[in-house]
């Protein structure tokens, strides 16, 4: 039973949000728009490849498009194991954060 790393968690949540339109550019932009983090495409793909090896995501190639110089998009989607991993990580974080709101307000 393993948990997602911080960046893996962000990428997985971006995939869930983007649903059928999750590919390198859209994932990068989603993370940048919601967290303000300027991440490189390489970081996104390195994480996605690692998640695919773990069986948390699956990928497929789309059709080549002219604005991409005739290159295909690689679409990603979260698998059932991936959903389990997201929930497990969420539960762990929520459990750890429970009751800490008051402490933070006192700081």
């Amino acid at each position: 039973m393993s948990y997602l790393g911080e960046f893996e968690h962000l990428v997985m949540l971006a995939l869930v949000r983007l649903n059928d339109n999750a590919y390198g550019v859209s994932v990068r932009q989603e993370i940048e728009a919601r967290t303000g983090r300027d991440v490189s495409i390489g970081a996104i793909y390195a994480t996605l490849d690692r998640l695919e090896t773990k069986g948390y995501v699956k990928s497929r190639f789309g059709d080549p498009t002219p604005e991409r110089g005739g290159r295909s998009k690689r679409f990603f989607r979260v698998t059932a194991r991936g959903v389990e991993a997201i929930n497990r990580t969420h539960d762990a974080i929520q459990s750890m954060a429970q009751g800490l709101d008051r402490i933070r307000s006192l700081a």
């Binding site: 550019v25 390195a46 490849d49």
Partner: protein
């Protein structure tokens, strides 16, 4: 129509496992260029390319660190163990078949053999071989091998150049024979380029076979 830096795009293509990453960068380049202008977009592209290559190289290394290091070490040993015999062997073949010394002096012939075989052909074959041994990590392995050769070769050269002269110094010729120093410098430039070329040939060849299949 604005185009991204071709060299950066080519480099990305060498390190990325498929065409999706260069495609993503091209797509975003068009958006950045239309929003912020071509100059900004080209700078953005270079920055993204550098960071992307670093990430890809690191993730390729993390995937198989020991086999990567073993291949680099094998390549390194192969360069130093097999290149000198290759020079002698190829020179021997040429001398056996053709009256070489009638056309060119012995030192010039051996220098040409040393440069052509020892610093171009044999290292290129080593680059090709290590790249073949490390599928999908061709450029990482050849780059690490080149890095090792440049660091060790460069350090050795510098230490020889700065070695204090003494009555029993065995490295006196490094201080006096500039031709030797120049020869080593040429080797330090040619050999890494040839190894990288071998890696690139293997990478591009592998891609072509993949697309035909």
């Amino acid at each position: 129509m604005t185009s991204p830096p071709r060299f950066a795009l080519w480099l990305i293509g060498l390190f990325s496992p498929d065409e999706a990453i260069p495609g993503d960068l091209l797509e975003e380049f068009s958006t950045v260029a239309s929003n912020n202008g071509t100059r900004h977009a080209r700078r953005w592209f270079w920055r993204q390319s550098g960071r992307t290559i670093a990430h890809l190289a690191w993730s390729q290394f993390r995937l198989a660190p020991w086999s990567t290091l073993a291949t680099v070490l094998a390549g390194y040993l192969f360069v130093w163990l097999c290149v000198p015999p290759a020079i002698v062997k190829s020179a021997g073949v040429l001398l056996g078949r053709y009256p070489v010394y009638e056309y060119v002096s012995a030192p010039a012939f051996w220098w040409i053999c040393d440069v052509l075989v020892g610093e171009v052909i044999a290292p290129m074959l080593v680059g090709l071989l290590v790249a073949r041994l490390s599928k999908n990590r061709e450029m990482l392995v050849t780059s690490l091998l080149v890095g090792a050769i440049v660091v060790v070769g460069g350090t050795t050269l510098l230490s020889f150049l700065w070695w204090p002269l003494g009555p029993h110094s065995t490295v006196l010729f490094w201080h006096t024979d500039h031709v030797v120093v120049l020869d080593v410098l040429i080797g330090l430039m040619l050999m890494p380029s040839a190894i990288l070329m071998g890696g690139i040939v293997s990478r591009k060849g592998g891609r072509r076979r993949l697309s035909i299949a």
